[in-house]
Structures are given as structure tokens and as C-alpha cells.
Symmetry: C2
Subunit: 417 residues, 2 copies
């Protein structure tokens, strides 16, 4: 990126005028004291924007937050981990609204000023008895923190929190962008089992912000896949409160274009962090498809390659297996001609014109043994391209995801099922 | 099926007038003596039909066999395992044709009377020096055998041969249908393309046979998935030589309908055998989608569920996880309404109206612990339905598919790369 940015401390709490807090309620596990309920609040009125899962099975908090966002926008967000509040019917909607109301009251806001996000197990009722008594606590603890507590409160199978904060110059005014993301499984294009929260003290009109968010998500979070499964809860929310003191950006003006560039870079960094922390992931693989007839052809090829269980197994094994890559290209339904396809692995030709290239196999094996490498697939048929960020699939991933019975047992103990 | 059939001994050699043979050439592994080249031959002229992979990267033998089939039909088929002859360019086409010519000559046939099928590793040249000297041998050994040798010669990562033979009555004449199939993944690197060969001594017009094959494959082999990867070599070939002595069937006549019913049942049995023998598979799962608005909606739902890594991991773990099933239904792009969806596992309700049903969890766990069970997904929106046969995905599958470096090393030793 050609815009100078400075990495600053913290995450979603790093932008001016935003307060965050977190408490542990025992939603994740009543026996272990871990943060699992968090709050973000803008001290001053702000603009907000968001995108949500395209899964037709939508979790209750997704439905509620979509409605609240459309109404007057959000000024606060409550989020929990440990339970997704998905497939929970009318009760789920009631619970999601109760969570908004719970913090809206002590904050002096309307219920519809608050967004709600949940992540965790699907199909079990929210253990509201653990949450209900904690709203005041959550609001009392609000402070100008960096947001680490909030970032911890939203993670599930993630091995660590994923935060980022930067500052940059917008026509003489210093502006901050802070964010955090969670997600490690159920990650697929069209948004992942993934929650992302971004705050900024930039002053940007609401519809301009919404447009920028949609465009940037398309080129960041929609370009990652770990296991090809798309979640019921995926949400990206951005709040902009103008607390940097800058004057309002003009739509399509120079400051707006700069902001959009930084936002895209910012989202891409968070998206890549999700892949790197994918469940039992050992490789981070960038797949660049070039020379496609159309954008859609390039996208189909990238998605087929990045989702193929066999390709991902070979990456896990450190095998520079271009045969499996080209077979996925072949079934992608993109318009391709086998004899035109070039595949480079780690910058070295593995397949040229659909045939094995003469790069020594040991050299390719060394490149694929690295924790991060790139695959370039040139279809040599046109000018369209598409990049995706993917990972290997490990035996440990399957092992890790064999059973969620423990969650059900806890819900049983709680009298919820 | 309402047609009485009798299981008879043997496989692809069980129908009258068909001879089979097999030899070991060392294509699979030069150091181990295993059958890896086989031949099927009809003593009398016959009709033939086939379907092939829709992968746009097609192996050389697929291209050659398609051409030969269109020309005059096939009277013999040569097949090998150990090398797929895929992504091998002009040389691959030459090699595939040479294999047809190699057996055509001693059989007194034209090159185009012979079909060729290969399965194994992709992207490495065929080790023709191992095959060239064996054509006469293959033809000399042709005999009225049951076909076990041929069935052995085409398997790769399969744990056993998969054969079936039946006889049934067509208006007073006893007709035989014999077949074998190989495949342990839709494609697997360690060699597992799906190849299916069926012979019959029924007397059926060529275009009627072709139509029946297309229809029956759609409802059998196109309904299975192990890893979601589609091969470059998938082939189903059927030869009918009329040696039962029956008069030619009339198109759309009663005998034709009976034959089609038996053929569908036959292909389904072979297709299910492929799933049961899938690479490191521990569960055989039938997924029935009902109540969809359209056939395509039902198909989308079945495919999404059967291909989801998370659903398959839960089956591996014996976890009756309906939450993951409904989340896959949601992202299938089928038209669904969450609150109408019922999911039964092993005949017991797990989810009703999109919510957890009250079947005791331990009861569901017992059902999913079985090696075979059914999942019924009722969308309650229409009358269309679709059934697929699937398997779990195991840590061992990934482990098994991590690398095919050994094949490359052998090709290197052979001076092929």
C-alpha cells in the first residue's frame, strides 16, 4: 500500500472516543473463569455499517443486528462467545434483544442503538441466566482500554486474540483505525464463522462507510477459506465517530479514497490473521489466479483449488502436487484449456502448458515445506485475476472437530435442553 | 426393487460371451508383483455405451475412449492402474492409442474397437516400457473367467475388489449382468479414480443402452461423494453382446424398462460399494432430502451436507450434530426456510421446525455410532427429493493423502521425469 501508516498499540479500543469492556460469565465453560462477554461503546454519536452471513440459516443476533443497523445505526455492540444463539427460534430472538436492552438501559440508549453478536455452538439455547446479572458490570467497567479484553471475550477455538490498530494522516489530521477479529473454523468465502469489529475516529458519512465496508469485505474476508464451511453468524461491523476532529469527508473525495485504501489493507490483514490461526492449520497459502477470461472464471478456479480436500491434504504433507491443483482447476466449471495452464509454486514453474515443468522436485519440496508460500495459476486465456488466502487441512483439524458433545452436556446440566 | 434377480458368481466376466484376463506389469510398483493391466473382450460383436468425467482436465485415455466409442463402439477394453495418464499431453494420447493398438492387433480388431482406461497418479508419463511387451500375454490369457483378475488389476487405494453379478428373466430368457468398479475417492492422489465396467449378454440397441447408462449413472454414481473431488479419469463403460440368445429389445418396451431397472439397481450397489470402501472411511451415510421446492434445490442441499468437512468430521466422531447439518443446508443456496426444516437421524427426530427436538441425545449418539445410518432432511416446502450416499472424513484420510512423492521418485528412477 502506498499510504504511510503507523501501527499503534491496541485493537478495537484504539480509536478515539471508543470505550470497551469485558467480563467472564461462564458461557464458554462455567467451571473456568474466561472472558466471554464484551462491550464496545462510542462516547459520541457515530456512524455504523456492516455486512452479514449469506447463509440462509441466520442466527438470531444476526437478524436483530441487521434490523438495528437499518433503523438508526449502532452506538454500542455487545458480543459473546460460547454460544452462537443460532437455530434457537423465537426464544433466540428474544434473548438477542434482551442482550441489547440489557446494556442499552445503563448506557442511556435505545435497544435499537445496540448491536449484538454471538459465536459458539449452534442449536442450544443461550444460557441467559449467566448473562442477565452482568450488564451493569459490563457498563461499569467501560474504559479507554486498548480492547484486549473485548478481543479475548469473542474468541472460541482461536489460539490467540487477533487485533490490529493503525494511525494515518488524512489531510493533516491524524486518524485511527482499530479492530479485532475472531474465527478459526467454519471459514469460507462469503464470510466466515467470523466476527470482526472495527472502530475509527474518522468522520465519514454513513452511506459512504457502508459502501466502503461492502467493497473491502469482498476483497478481504470473502477471499479466505479454511474448511469451506460458511457460518450462520458471520458479521463485520464498523463504527466511525469522527472523534479525531476532522471535518466530514466528501463522498468520493481524496480523503475518502485514502480511507478506503487503508480500510481494505486493514481488513486484509485481519482476514489473513484468521487463516493463519485456522484450526490446526500449519500452512498459509496465497493462491493467485491470473489470465482468466472473466473475473468469475478466476474466482471459480481459486475457490475450487482452495477448497479441495486433496489439494489441502498435499499442502499439509509438504507435497508440491500440481496434479491435484490442475484437477481442481478442471472441475471448477471455469472455462479453461488444459494445455494453456501454467502453475508456479513458490515462484518456480511446476507445470507449464499443462505438463510437468523441469524444476527439480526437491526444490519445489523445499518451497512447500515453508509455513507460507504462494501458488500462481495462469490460465493464459484473458486478463482477469483473483487472489485467495487459504490453508492446509490437517488430520488434527478433523480430530479437533469430531464432537461437540461436551457443549450439549453442559446445556443439559443447565436445564436448557 | 420389484424385479426378482439372482446373485451369481463372479463379476465383469459373468455375462455370456465375455472373456477377461489380467497381468502384472509393475506399473503400480515395480518391486511388487501385483496385477495392474487387464482386458475385457466380447467374443461376438456387441453394443457399447459410456459416460465420462465432466472435469475439463481430461486424461488421455478418456479422450481416446470417447472418440473410439463414438466411431464404431467398443468390443474390447484395456485398463491399467498405477498411472492415470492424465496431464501428459500429446505423448499421453500416443500412449493411450498404443495401448489400444497393442491388443487390437492380436485380437484381430481395429484400434478404434478398443477402449482404454487408466487410473493412478496424475502428471507422470505412462511407463510404456513396462506395458509394451505384455499385450500378447494379455490376449493369450483371455478366458471365460469370472473377472476377478481384471477387478484386481484396476484397483489402487481400494482395500478390496468390488464386483457384482446377477441374472434375471427377460420374457423367458435368462440374462446376465456382471460388473466391477474401482475407486476410493471421487479422485485420490494415491490413485483412486472411479472406473466401472459392466457387461451383459442382453440384446439391447446401442442408443437405448447409451440412454439407460446416462440415466442410471445420474441416479447412482453421480449420487456419491467421499471427498468432494472429481477425477480427471472417471469412466463408466457398458458392453452388451446379446449372447443370452434373446431377441433384440424394443426401445421403451417392457423388457427395456425391466433391464433399465435392474441396471439402476446394479449401478447403485456398485456405487455404494465405492463409498463403503472409501479411503479411511468408517461410516456409510445415506442422506435423503425431501420436501424441496425443486429437484435442483434438493440436490444442492444434499451436496452441501455431504461435502461439508465439519459435518463429515462430526460423523467420524459419532456426534449427532444437527447444527452443522442445518448450517450446511443454509449455505447450499437452495431455497429454504429455517423454521420449516426437520432433520431425522437414524429415523429419530433431531431437529423439528429448525429447533432441537426432544429425542434423548444418548439415543441419537447410539444411532450415529453405527457404521451405517440415514439422515433425513425435510425442507417441508415442496415435493422434490434427492438421495446421496456419503461417508465421514477421518484424520486418517488426510494423513493418507498427504503426499504422493513416492510415485514421483519411482518415475524419476524410471527416467520418465
Amino acid at each position: 500500500m502506498d499510504i504511510p501508516i503507523t501501527r499503534i498499540k491496541g485493537g478495537v479500543g484504539a480509536a478515539r472516543g471508543f470505550l470497551t469492556s469485558a467480563v467472564g460469565c461462564g458461557i464458554k465453560n462455567p467451571d473456568v473463569d474466561r472472558l466471554d462477554l464484551g462491550l464496545i461503546y462510542s462516547e459520541v454519536p457515530c456512524h455504523s455499517a456492516g455486512t452479514f452471513t449469506t447463509n440462509r440459516v441466520k442466527a438470531a443476533p444476526v437478524r436483530v443486528t441487521q434490523t438495528h443497523l437499518r433503523k438508526d445505526g449502532l452506538r454500542a455492540i455487545i458480543a459473546n462467545s460460547g454460544n452462537a444463539n443460532a437455530c434457537t427460534g423465537v426464544q433466540g430472538i428474544r434473548d438477542a434483544k434482551a442482550m441489547c436492552r440489557g446494556v442499552a438501559k445503563p448506557l442511556g440508549l435505545k435497544q435499537s442503538d445496540v448491536g449484538v453478536c454471538s459465536t459458539g455452538v449452534i442449536g442450544l439455547p443461550m444460557p441467559m441466566m449467566r448473562i442477565e446479572g452482568r450488564y451493569d458490570d459490563l457498563v461499569d467497567r467501560l474504559a479507554r482500554k486498548q480492547g484486549q479484553g473485548f478481543a479475548s471475550a469473542i474468541i472460541t477455538s482461536d489460539t490467540h486474540t487477533k487485533e490490529l490498530a493503525v494511525s494515518f494522516d488524512l489531510d493533516g489530521v491524524r486518524v485511527r483505525l482499530g479492530g479485532c477479529v475472531k474465527g478459526a473454523g467454519m471459514i469460507s468465502p462469503s464470510m466466515a464463522t467470523m466476527l470482526c469489529f472495527i472502530t475509527t475516529d474518522a468522520n465519514i458519512p454513513e452511506e459512504t462507510l457502508q459502501k466502503a465496508v461492502l467493497e473491502c469485505v469482498e476483497e478481504s474476508f470473502n477471499r479466505i477459506t479454511i474448511d469451506g464451511d460458511m457460518s450462520t453468524n458471520d458479521t463485520v461491523l464498523v463504527m466511525a465517530n469522527g472523534a479525531s476532529g476532522m471535518s466530514a469527508m466528501r463522498r468520493n473525495g481524496k480523503r475518502c479514497r485514502t480511507f478506503r485504501k487503508v480500510l481494505l489493507w486493514f481488513m486484509r490483514e485481519l482476514a489473513k490473521a484468521v487463516v493463519r490461526d485456522g484450526e490446526r492449520v500449519t500452512k498459509f497459502v496465497t493462491v493467485n489466479v491470473e489470465g482468466a477470461k472473466t473475473y468469475l472464471d478466476a474466482k471459480k478456479v481459486a475457490e475450487a483449488v482452495c477448497k479441495s480436500a486433496l489439494v489441502k491434504a498435499s499442502w499439509n504433507g509438504g507435497d508440491p502436487n500440481w496434479g491435484r491443483i490442475i484437477h481442481a482447476v478442471g472441475y471448477s466449471r471455469a472455462r479453461i484449456r488444459e494445455e494453456l495452464i501454467d502453475i508456479h509454486i513458490g515462484g518456480k514453474p511446476a507445470c507449464l502448458g499443462g505438463l510437468q515443468a523441469d524444476t527439480p522436485m526437491n526444490q519445489l519440496r523445499t518451497l512447500v515445506a515453508k509455513p507460507e508460500f504462494e501458488i500462481d495459476i495462469n490460465l493464459n486465456q484473458g486478463k482477469a485475476n483473483y487472489t485467495m488466502y487459504s490453508s492446509d487441512l490437517s488430520p488434527e483439524y478433523i480430530d479437533f472437530n469430531r464432537s461437540e458433545y461436551a457443549y450439549w452436556k453442559q446445556a443439559r446440566k443447565d436445564g436448557l435442553v
